[in-house]
Amino acid sequence: MAELVKDWLADYQRARRQPAESEAFVVEHETDPEIAEAIFTIFNERQRNEDLVHDICQQLLAFYRAPEVALHKFPLQFIPVLIYTYLHAVAAGDKKASRGVETLLICIYNGEVSTDDGGQKVVAFRMPILAQASVYHEVKNLPMTDLRRWEENCNREVKWGPHLRIESINAQNRMRIMTALLFCYNQQVSLTQKSSLLHLCRVTSQLVNQGFTTKSGHGHRMSYGSDPATGATFPKPSSPRIPLSASFLIELVHAIYYAMFNGYGTIAIQTLEDIHNRASYEMYTELILVTNAVRNSLHANPSGQPNDGPMGLSVALTPATNTVTTSVSKSMITNASFRTKKLPDDIPIQVQDLTMPQAPQQLASVTEETEPGAKESPSTKESSGTRTSIIRPSMEGIKAQAHKALIAGFKKSKDKEKEKDKEPPKPPQRKFDKHTQRNSLLQLQSQTTEDYEKSPLTVSKSKTYDAVGDPQPTDMLPMQTLSLINENGSNSFSIDSDMNDGIAVLAGQGGGVPVSTMASMNSNTTSITSSDLLTKSFDSSVEMTPMVGHSNSNGGKLAEHGLE
């Protein structure tokens, strides 16, 4: 091996002197797989070949600075082994011996963090959000909660870098530099020879396991008796643990993950276990997250094992047809049966409001102004406000009676069917377009005015809703409006928690088909709390009511509605 490397060193020295030969050298070098293997071997036995290691580092540095791409990329595959050599030497307190390696690493680091024109390299990407249609999805086909969730991430850019060039490595920046180097290695890992992945795994195991052998040599205990004041030199453990940071190990996991699915499954899995053990020992939460994830994906998981199929990919057929019988799947509750809404942030206010029901009007106006979700323009807000105030006195008295009766009447789901026929006839409310939507909401609102008296916050919420249901077709629609239209389009209501009462009443009065839909919706709402209802069919959009605030505030009434 040593001979091979020596020849290699000599060849390049010769080639450099004669430009004509240099080209031939590059070509020959690129096609020679043995030299890399030989260099790895030398690094493994570095104690016996210290001079050679030094020469190799110099030559690799020369390669790295060479204009030929093939030569330039060649040293990158040695980054893990170089890092190990260096960190091992540092941990053993033998920094002098690793000067060559250190210099090489610093140069590669400085080279990798800079762009070709000398600027600072930044790897950046935009955070994708589901609320924006992409080449792979459309907004309307995804649940609203998922869309809303990412709003805040909109246009966010995630970056690696910029990194400052460095002149020297110290304990403070060491891990950061090693992490950056490994990141660069990972960027290019698919260009390296596959065989170097084997060395990557081996070196990684050494990095994380060193000093953790179960047989702990208590040899250095002997010096306990020596006088501490003299500062006598303490015998060092033969292989001290190598300090490693979480982010460094995360990069290593990525490299190992690549190796795992590119031909080195078994050894890579073993290495991953080693990293995981180290992670648990050091309690690096982020690292444990990642190692846990990879380990979990390796067993009993559709992601597949490294050895089934290329890259662990295999055909995963939907089992629905085979395993689940029709009768079973009908009563099964899936997540699609529910939709969650985030609770408003001002729950305490609501509770507070309820304690003083005598001043709803005033409070309503206060909450309306502070309502963060309200995206209406000032003008619409105003109009909606007046609208309610006009409606309230007129509708209140008329509807109050019927409303109460309805609440009292719908106690059980069975009763619902009978009640349906007795209800006062009303024009069907199902086919909303954007305009009737507003009107129906208006009615709806008017019918629930009685509720408003009790919980002023609901007033403000409904106002908001009302205003939002009044979309300007030309405008960019805010999220809420979008959701409304969409849900309306698929003919299913997503009931806002605070709209719950209102819709229930609407359903009660609506008559015809909608009633059953609505009623079943409401039954689902309560079924979260009452487990006996869980077996009911959940055929339509079910709104999982936020439990906390609501069950506190008007829980009693909600239950009544729910039991319809």
Binding site: Y136, N141, K159, H220, P243, P302, G312, N335, S490
Partner: protein, 865 residues
């Protein structure tokens, strides 16, 4: 008459056609009888239809898989084969059904495992030469399946040895078949959605189509199964829909990219995935899309490193994505997503995260909440799907510091993750990583329950309690629990160490001497054991050394800190403790040397700089100390300012900055006080006070986390101290003013202001300041001592004695207190004539003086790395 029959037949034919496309095979057989009776010369067509219906019926009941019992299939399909063969004859050619019959026969052969014959039938059908034209729904499906079957058959054959050249040729053909099959299959499903959508129910038609580009496609349905229709129960829709695709098509769709990867065409495979995902989704492709999205993400994560990545749809930019329908549309290609302002990934990370987010949304939707046993299989399957996505998401995001994102995902997952230990643990970990400490503790408690044998969650909880929640007792409980769980004895040393740390902290907090002694004993025991169990653990050695230091056994402490340093040379807290131990052993010069060396390795370590400044203050002139403190301010600005300004930029490499805070985050612990943990409560009081103050006055709270600001206060106060040494009380007051700007009601500030008054000999003001400081923090020994001193100066020796006794009780190892007390007692005793007590105090002071470090040992923050 004939005319009527004619009409009748066409009606029947139309009916049959619609039944065929909807897969109502029983009905087809019935109708065929009608057809036969209506016009006898339709014999051939009838044969074909019956054969088809029988075949499809059989296949619906028996899944086709390579392992299925071919023998049974042969007998079961014999009749279908007979009918189809009948349809092949001369009349079949005339009726134009021979092609379809051959294709179906090929399918039948495939189902029976006769791959060669199947391929022969394809040759007879001249599958390769078919021209692209508009097809009926049923034909589309037959054709798509035919390509799929041909691909599958070729794949079966490929496993048999043949010449290299032939093999390559076959491979290409197979890949081509799979690609066509996937295109046609998707197109079929899209067409099917349109047809069934316009037939059935007006309930979907109100869905506003954003896809007006699809002029030819008609109204686009909001057709996913989750967009709940009011009439059909959604679950049955999915069931019906999944039957629509069939195993053969689904296999082919997933197989296409896999065979490409096998053939070494990674880029083409990625492109194939992209094309399939770019096709507009249908009700039937929901789960397929989930699989594909996940698999593409897997391919990108596992096999494509940054440099060889090519972003999607760049070659035919714009054109390809907008080619949804209309004139340019190719007949046999599925329609694609097309919307204005589409997000097109530009690099690997964007694409991976986008895919995983979509996959997550799809997978989460299908998760099963029902806990009853009959749903167990379905639940597990859905859970497996969703955890696979979470695992990939973890892998893809953590590297970029996007822990927050992960956090939210897991939070949503809790709903359907009852008893799923993996999800709960990951959630707990992500909360910890996102520094939501108390929330994380709650989740960890759940995780402990789910994995009763694993010490890790207990250890994590213990660390949380020690490090962030200041609930040492609770932390100790968890540590002991972890120790109990270490039955396998993998690495019990960590649990042992944590038990030791807990005892140590409790000892520091204890105010009763007996309690303190008991805890100290326990701490020493467990730390000794931790060191024995893991001789290579520098952290155990460090804590053991610290324990000896706290017990004032400096010799032992020094030897253990040397062990710790031998195990890890570059460990800032070890070096810190080492320096303090040296100052306590009257070797301050060496200590300064150690600190200076340590600062070479850790130039930005404010703790070490703090020690350095103190040492310089005492050993060298105050000017050098001044420059050190100024340097500290500069370091503070470098390290924290960017972080405070851009709180949101908590990613990748600023992460290193964040880690720095992490390691030094305890440094806002009063470095002048011994009572680390009780201080938390105090600082909470202070925070409350400051908030109250801010609501009253014009004071505004500084943005960002508190810890960096507390650090800055500390630096300002140190600076004030230095200024007083060089006799510039006004500068000192300015510093105090700066500190007040950050945080008006800190006891440290009050104390320091009192010190300035002492310097200026304004005793009454000083007394007031010290009283304030003690009121804010009754355990602040420095303030108590200073208050005693002031009382003494004001001629109130009794009060002074009281204060000093309190201080001595809290910190019996501080010589300064005893010294002052000696004076105080001296004054009191003078009047009483008893000098013994005074002499005792002086003796104690003298005894303690040499072993007193420049800063208390407890000023070193807790460390866990």
């Amino acid at each position: 008459m004939a005319n009527r029959t004619r009409n009748n037949t066409t009606k029947v034919e139309a009916l049959i056609e619609s039944c065929r496309s909807e897969g109502k095979w029983q009905r087809v057989i019935e109708l065929t009888d009608e057809l036969k009776t209506g016009s006898p010369h339709n014999e051939c067509l009838a044969n074909f239809l019956v054969g088809e219906a029988r075949l499809e019926n059989y296949l619906e009941e028996h899944a086709v898989a390579p392992e299925t019992n071919f023998g049974r299939a042969k007998s079961g399909l014999a009749e279908a084969r007979r009918f189809l063969n009948l349809a092949l004859g001369e009349s079949g050619q005339k009726a134009g059904i021979a092609l379809d019959a051959y294709l179906l026969l090929a399918k039948l052969c495939y189902a029976c495992g006769e791959y060669e014959q199947s391929l022969e039938n394809f040759v007879k059908a001249e599958l390769n030469t078919l021209a692209e034209k508009e097809l009926t729904l049923r034909s589309l499906k037959i054709l798509a399946e035919s390509y799929a079957i041909k691909g599958l058959c070729l794949e079966q054959q490929a496993s048999k040895p043949s010449s290299k050249f032939k093999k390559a040729e076959k491979d290409t053909e197979m890949i081509c078949c799979f690609e066509r099959a996937s295109d046609l299959g998707l197109l079929y499903l899209q067409e099917y959605d349109i047809v069934s959508g316009s037939n059935s129910s007006s309930n979907n038609s109100t869905a506003g189509s954003t896809l007006n580009v699809n002029a030819g496609g008609g109204v686009q349905q909001s057709s996913s199964s989750f967009a709940i229709s009011s009439t059909i129960p959604s679950s049955s829709v999915t069931l019906e829909v999944s039957r629509r695709m069939g195993a053969i098509l689904e296999t082919a769709l997933q197989r296409a990219p896999i065979v490409l990867i096998k053939a070494g065409k990674l880029q083409v495979a990625v492109e194939r995935y992209r094309i399939m995902l770019n096709a507009i989704e249908t009700r039937a492709t929901q789960s397929l899309r989930l699989t594909l999205a996940r698999q593409l993400a897997e391919v990108l994560l596992r096999g494509v490193s940054g440099t060889i990545y090519a972003p999607p749809f760049t070659t035919k930019s714009g054109g390809s994505t907008l080619r949804g329908g209309g004139a340019t549309k190719r007949l046999w290609k599925p329609r694609k997503y097309a919307a204005r302002q589409q997000f097109t990934p530009r690099n690997q990370q964007e694409e991976v995260i986008l895919l995983l987010l979509i996959a997550e949304a799809l997978a989460v939707r299908d998760t099963v909440l029902s806990q009853s046993p009959e749903f167990r299989l379905a639940r597990q399957h859905a859970m497996g799907n969703v955890t696979a996505v979470y695992d990939l998401l973890t892998l893809a995001t953590i590297r970029w510091g996007l822990v927050q994102l992960l956090n939210e995902s897991f939070e949503k997952a809790l709903k359907f993750s009852f008893g799923e230990q993996h999800v709960w643990r990951q959630y707990a970990l992500s909360l910890m990583a996102a520094e939501k400490h108390s929330h994380a503790l709650r989740v960890l408690q759940e995780s402990m329950k789910l994995t009763p044998g694993d010490p890790l969650p207990c250890l994590l909880a213990s660390r949380l309690c020690y490090e962030s929640l200041e609930t040492v007792k609770q932390g100790l409980d968890y540590a002991q629990q972890a120790l109990k769980r270490e039955v396998k004895g993998l690495r019990p040393s960590r649990s042992q160490l944590f038990v030791g740390i807990g005892h140590q902290q409790l000892a520091i907090q204890a105010t009763l001497k007996s309690e303190r002694d008991a805890y100290n004993k326990l701490a020493l025991e467990s730390l000794e054991r931790a060191v024995q169990q893991d001789g290579n653990d520098h952290l155990a050695e460090y804590y053991l050394s610290l324990q000896y230091a706290l017990l004032n056994q400096l010799g032992e402490a020094l030897s253990h800190i040397r062990f710790a340093l031998a195990l890890r040379m570059e460990h800032a807290p070890c070096l810190h403790l080492f320096a303090l131990l040296l100052t306590a052993s009257r070797r301050p010069r060496e200590a300064l040397g150690v600190v200076e060396d340590a600062l070479h390795e850790f130039p930005d370590n404010l703790q070490l700089l703090h020690v350095k400044a103190h040492l310089q203050l005492n050993l060298e002139d105050a000017e050098t100390a001044l420059s050190t403190v100024q340097h500290m301010l500069a370091v503070w600005r470098d390290v924290y300012e960017a972080q405070l300004a851009g709180e949101e930029e908590k990613h990748s490499d600023t992460k290193s900055g964040v880690h720095l805070v992490h390691s030094s985050q305890m440094s806002d612990k009063d470095s002048n006080s011994v009572y680390a943990a009780s201080l938390a409560a105090v600082s909470r009081v202070e925070q409350a006070l400051s908030e109250a103050a801010s609501s009253l006055s014009s004071f505004t709270q500084r943005p960002g986390p508190r810890r960096p600001w507390m650090l800055q206060i500390e630096i300002w106060l140190l600076l004030a101290d230095v200024y007083m040494r060089i006799d510039q009380p006004n500068e000192a007051l300015n510093c105090i003013h700066e500190a007040t700007q950050i945080y008006p009601l800190s006891h440290q500030i009050m104390f320091m202001r009192g010190q300035v008054h002492v310097y200026l000999e304004q005793w009454l003001d000083a007394k007031q300041c010290f009283l304030n400081a003690v009121a804010a923090n009754p355990n602040h020994t420095e303030a108590l001592r200073a208050l005693g001193e002031t009382h003494l100066m004001l001629g109130e020796p009794r009060l002074a004695e009281k204060m000093l006794k309190d201080a001595a009780k809290l910190d019996p190892n501080c010589p300064k207190i005893w010294q002052v007390q000696q004076f105080a007692l001296g004054q009191i005793m003078q009047t009483l004539g008893d000098f013994n007590a005074s002499a005792d105090c002086f003796a104690t002071s003298l005894q303690l003086e040499p072993s007193c470090p420049v800063l208390p040992f407890t000023s070193i923050p807790l460390v866990f790395e």
